[in-house]
């Protein structure tokens, strides 16, 4: 490739094959447009207030919270892979580690950015740190997420410093080398923090005594949703990582990791998913038969409203829970990449649905005898703002892939040729 086509060659790692600068720019263009549009929409919300959204006093939480919860669950792959590699010493997962860090970073920073638009008074958000209410799950979430975001940034730094140009700065090289010793510690801290906020995101809803649809009994201060959310997050994290990597391979047309890595991720994901589904089923039974009847609510109060009927409950457990678990574990399907990815997709959809049910259905359902079942459609400002987060994620990942050693391509260079 001539330098004309690859203007930014100096920045690209030696031996890494990359498409021409023009193609890369064309790939980024639509995402950048989406990003700018979203920034404009968010600006409207910040300037005129949240009347720009279609949320209201009854739908106080809308699409934003739903998708925040979703992508934070997806981002769990970051801490979990770190945990597997550094704590459980599963070295063969190392190839996806950097990619996992980038995915996690984009998911978390994106979610936090949207939250800053979602709250009515972002300039006062720091009060949570100054006057924290230690009983609130949201305080736990705020502290853990912001700390973990810091950890992710720290984990990202060494990856950045391994860029071809930055390596030339000697002190950076030294720093990166020293810093690398710290990464296992960071992984440990990250695991601890994520463990708590993934859980407390579930606790967020489980403690809502006033919303029998969400309220759950639990252990100590934690409702059962605390553990279910954590479990579902670490179950779906690897699946999402598989999907991202697979997409990256599709887009770049190169094999980035060994098939074995997929199988391993899939297996882990599948096993955890199976455990989650079992736990979820038990929890649902306890809740429907003990917890909610005790406060005068029954299944008919929850599932007699179209379209959020009991089919949702079924879907969350069987086709989007049990089925993917089987697809990911069973050797027959796990050997085939297609089935593997299909299982991963279903698993992600399952968690997506679960988060939707907790955020949206909880608010749609009536509580008082003279309430009505409510519906809500997000406004374009809400959609665009969230679109920006997706775009942001794609852009950061693309840039990282192009300029940073996300995958150990140097080693696998030979295979590129053979695979064409």
């Amino acid at each position: 490739m001539s330098d004309l086509l690859l203007i930014d060659r100096r920045w690209i790692a030696r031996g890494a094959a990359r498409s021409s600068t023009l193609r890369f720019a064309l790939w980024l263009a639509p995402w950048i447009f989406l990003l700018l549009l979203g920034i404009y929409a968010a600006g409207l919300c910040l300037y005129y207030g949240l009347n720009q959204t279609n949320m209201d006093n009854r739908f106080a939480f809308g699409m934003w919270i739903f998708l925040d919860l979703a992508i934070i669950a997806m981002g769990a792959g970051a801490f979990f892979t770190g945990f597997l590699v550094y704590i459980l010493k599963q070295k063969d997962l190392k190839p996806v580690l950097n990619s996992a860090v980038v995915v996690g970073l984009t998911c978390y920073s994106g979610a936090v950015a949207v939250l800053m638009v979602d709250v009515g008074q972002p300039l006062r958000a720091w009060f949570t740190f100054w006057y924290p209410n230690t009983h609130s799950m949201l305080t736990e979430v705020t502290f853990c997420i912001s700390c973990y975001l810091l950890v992710l940034i720290l984990e990202y730094i060494p990856v950045v410093l391994r860029n071809r140009q930055l390596r030339k700065v000697p002190s950076f090289l030294v720093f990166e080398h020293q810093f690398h010793k710290l990464v296992p510690v960071l992984a440990g801290v990250g695991t601890f923090l994520s463990f708590f906020h993934q859980g407390s995101l579930g606790g967020l809803y489980g403690v809502l005594r006033g919303r029998p649809f969400a309220y759950r009994a639990g252990f100590a201060i934690w409702p059962s949703t605390f553990f279910l959310f954590l479990l579902s997050a670490i179950a779906v994290g690897p699946s999402f990582l598989m999907l991202v990597t697979a997409t990256a391979e599709k887009v770049t047309g190169r094999q980035l990791v060994q098939p074995g890595v997929y199988r391993k991720l899939g297996f882990i994901s599948g096993v955890l998913l199976a455990v989650y589904v079992a736990a979820k089923a038990v929890d649902t039974l306890v809740w429907l038969n003990i917890t909610s009847p005790s406060v005068g609510f029954g299944p008919r109060d929850f599932y007699s409203y179209w379209p959020l009927s009991s089919t949702f409950l079924f879907a969350a457990i069987v086709p989007l829970g049990l089925l993917p678990a089987i697809l990911l574990i069973a050797p027959v399907t796990a050997r085939k990449r297609g089935w593997l990815l299909c299982g991963a997709t279903l698993a992600c959809c399952g968690v997506l649905l679960n988060r939707f049910v907790f955020t949206i259905q909880t608010l749609a359902l009536p509580t008082l005898a003279f309430d009505e079942f409510l519906s809500y459609i997000p406004s374009w400002q809400e959609v665009a703002t969230f679109g920006a987060v997706i775009a942001y994620g794609v852009i950061v990942y693309s840039l990282s892939y192009r300029y940073l050693p996300l995958f150990e391509e140097g080693k696998g260079a030979g295979q590129h040729v053979s695979l064409g």
Binding site: Q121, L123, R124, W126, F127
Partner: protein, 556 residues
Amino acid sequence: MKVSRRDLLIGSAGVTAGIIFTPVPWKLLGDVSIWTQNFSWIPQLPRGPVEVKQSACTLCANGCGVRVRMAAGCPVGVAGVSGHPVSKGTLCPLTFAAHQLNWHPRRLREVRHRGRPASWSDAQAAFAKACGEGQVAIFDAQPERAASSVFAAFIQKHNGCYRPVLGPESQALAPYASWSGVPVNALGYDLENTRTIVSFGAPLLDGWGTPGRFTRLWSDRAAGASDPQLRLIQMESSFSRTAALAWRRVAVREGSDAALAAGVARVLLEEGLVAAQAPMPVLPLAEAAAQTGLSVEEIRSLVRTMVEKRPVLAIAAEESPSVAALNVLLGAVGTPGGIVAKKNHVPARVPAEAPKTSPRAVLIDASVPWEFDPQTDAEIFRFAAWDGGGGKADWLLPAPGFLEYLTDVPAPPTSGVDTYAIAVNLAASPPEIKSAAQFLQKIDSSMPEVDQLIRAHCEEIFHSHQGAVYGEQPLPVSTIESAQKIEEQLRKGAVWVGNPSRPGNLRCVLKDWPAERTLPRPTNWAAAWPVPVLPPIATKLYQESNLREAPAGRQA
């Protein structure tokens, strides 16, 4: 020495590190948050001495007592006066925000002639000219006030006529006036002593008469009881608030009140349920049943329940001779718990005669509802505090708003006893504001002053030795040493209440059953509210809750 790029980098690193150890980031963080707590574009609270005054509401003729909280000389809160003899400590929903009305965007602050700004002198000149050229008619919806006397004096001096504008409650009393010769303003309902009320669509629990009076009575004697002391039977086609809460609801066809009354009268006479002699309605029972949509049997049983607990009183929503005749039949005229004359000696201060010729000019007082149409092609001088829009007045004259002018408050239309109160000008009105009475005084300086007339009326009360003045504690007039004392009390928000009227000073004799007529019913909940606009926070009632319909033609 030479400063390298590296030095700049390191230097700025030093600055960044240093800033952390100064108040800058921390103080800014705090002050910005405080800024968000006191956005400059959010209105500041009034500061200044706070005091509480008592007065009477003058927005309509029902004379509710109001307790007004003033801050820095401006009303900041309105509430009822507990134990008020007229309104029983209650107000209509809108009056709780009436103090906002004076700042309503539709407030009139300048004289307008056919939409264009004009001056008071122009208006006075035009009116004086009109008086010279022909007859003037003055419309007044709150008769018996001092201002009304000014109007009367004016039309007696310059040839003209005085036309009181009757609200639905007064219209309902009109038939008795024409049969007994006692003027409408001297009639009223003795609700306190009645046991059964048969309402022909009257919105008794939704802003009828003085709101507090009946709602209090109902809540004390009827609410929720299966066999209440006070039985409310509501004949209504729609499921109105009153119908929803009544003891019995009879769903009849729209506008079949007259037929129902006739049917009821027939049953009463046929079954000999009443002592009083009255002509038999021409309408046969079967026909009445057919018109009302009830069966004959239903009417019969209805009548029996009606007369179970006496005294029985029938109340019509507006003028309905048949319902009036029914009351005569039920012996509910001039008796306790019925229609009574609240004034034993009726001064009949203002002769309300029909115009001899079509008037040259028409003056409409601010008390007249905006919707009122004088049906004339004369030059119209419309006094109003608020512009209701679409008014076809030639002259739009800015009148004082809520609590902005001195006036007296005579007995409300539905009251069973005579009352008198004074509303002083608690709030300063904007410049360029005149009441109709002041306007007429400017034209003819020989007109009496409102405060003189009020003083005169206090003298009247003082010399009558009747009734009592209800201030902190009720004082019989006979124990008060001077008329000035009475006026002082009333100006502080007290109310004079006359003695209950002697039974039998009201007699109606019917030669034959009155002719049928059906009138449209006031549909809108705020139709009785004479102010063309609503307090802005009335949006709570019909926009932010689904409690009520938005009132037609009235903007918040």
